[in-house]
Assembly symmetry: C2
Amino acid sequence: MRKAWEKNIRTVVPYTPGEQPKFLEMVKLNTNENPYPPSPRVKEALDAINYENLRLYPDPACEELVAALAARYQVSPEEVFVGVGSDDVLSMCFLTFFHSGKPIFFPDVTYSFYDVWADVYGIPYERQPLNDRFEIVKEDYYRENGGVIFPNPNAPTGLLMELSEIEEIIRHNQDVVVVVDEAYIDFGGKSAVELIHKYDNLLVVQTFSKSRSMAGMRIGYAMGNKDLIRYLSDVKYSVNSYTMNLPALAAGKAALEDEAYFQENVNRIISTRERTKKELSKLGFTFGDSKANFIFATHERFQARELFEALKIKKIFVRYFNKPRIDNYLRISIGTDQEMDTLLEFLKKYVKEN
Amino acid sequence: MRKAWEKNIRTVVPYTPGEQPKFLEMVKLNTNENPYPPSPRVKEALDAINYENLRLYPDPACEELVAALAARYQVSPEEVFVGVGSDDVLSMCFLTFFHSGKPIFFPDVTYSFYDVWADVYGIPYERQPLNDRFEIVKEDYYRENGGVIFPNPNAPTGLLMELSEIEEIIRHNQDVVVVVDEAYIDFGGKSAVELIHKYDNLLVVQTFSKSRSMAGMRIGYAMGNKDLIRYLSDVKYSVNSYTMNLPALAAGKAALEDEAYFQENVNRIISTRERTKKELSKLGFTFGDSKANFIFATHERFQARELFEALKIKKIFVRYFNKPRIDNYLRISIGTDQEMDTLLEFLKKYVKEN
């Protein structure tokens, strides 16, 4: 029986994160984690923390981390916001910027958290369908709306939109905030951050979870003009003043100080991705030209679900979405060369024997 | 000029955290931090983290930390929720439980974040005035409402309510959720957690920031019946699935494993608090019988603001609230004995010379 207090509360269908299986021996290509560790500078920074200082509140303004981000992206500290992973940053964006009561626009095939945030905050939305090649159709975003958000590259397709097309979307939406979610931009795209001084309604969101190998530290950030950042900060300070703990602040700063490691890490993943594309093609897979750290692939003969299950038995985990339009695709994160070889050898055998 | 997009966004008056001055030499008694470091086990746990694992997402269910909390409080893991400090937990409570559209009730003099959360989430509220002795009047909470929240001990008064009185409030409010915010309970109060199996609408919120000396790590938690916890988790997973980073999960668990250190730390602060009360009385201060790690005091001759400013010049930081009813009080956190002596000596001199 439903209890009396239950009718007074907010009930939601929560986001389902990718599986986090706990096998010691597995090939984990299901949550777009980076297969390589963070910069050794991160270890040094963590070792240098005096644990006694944990008794004090951390810096609520995250000044040192913000300064390091500002320096890296050649913006001013007033143009930077940080949060507990890009999910925290994006959630704050929904709460802050999509408050008009008009429907916000995002693609029909995209990051599956967007509709969840809209639901939890009571924001109306309209999904704009990708075309048959899974591309965003920019003209779909030219009608009146309450805000626009899309990832670039898009997830889970991996497809990149040219900056000129993104600029067209921003230009047609100057009365609302446009959020470009660049979680995967470092794997081959050009960031829209260079447009923030041209368009004061543009917010660019990035993360340390993918290209900086720090999913376990929970650091995301946004860059935009200082008024946007101030509104976002006001809401953040009204929800939780102290979100970034001492280790996250220290580790984030340290990672930014090792640009060489970052570039090398990213290039290694790009090279593995391109090699994997060639091998998958030979095996009868087709996919768009992903610029992210994953490939979104479908097979000419085998159902995605069947492959997903067969791989799982061998403790090779990829992501399968049981959703319209994409239920015959697998999202395969780029792991180490060795991990991709394990995957490819299994698939080679599977294709041959079935 | 207001920009077009500005009319579509949520604007709020954010919570103002206590000052975080950056002097190396200061007596910081303004944000209720613990003057002693966390358990040495916390250091061991942090040293044991393999930084390479930061590349992976942390456990979204926080299983090990939840299990440690469940064991410590003799509840089941399904009755425990964790978040990024108790502010994160409380914010989620507002978003989840106070959704009826009816006004929620909390004291007029209380934690200054409650009205901020209500404003940011559009929740109506009614402040119930404390009596002349700054006590919560339980009968004020017996009318129809959309939920009840109060701290015990209350902040910034430090006054503790007996568990029997709290039970009366819960008993009169079984159609809504009652949140007891126990940030300071370990400094001399009896937790309401023993009532969670009797009342399924009771949620008890605690924190690692005060009695466990870990404000810098951002760990808070809630305990309540498993349906309440599930609803809270559903909303949390809809906002940010991975909130607790790897160091927080490891350090939180380690702190709970050192009960002896915890007890010793808390007793030391209680003893300093009681001594400080005696000394402040001699100097002409009056205050309620605080059971928290701070004293909320007013002076017979000097204005609180004047004392606050005079102390600040000497780099002794206490908290002053420029708010109705409490603008002639100082909230003085309990520091080390040495820190309290510095404060008391200054006050002795000030009282004598003015």
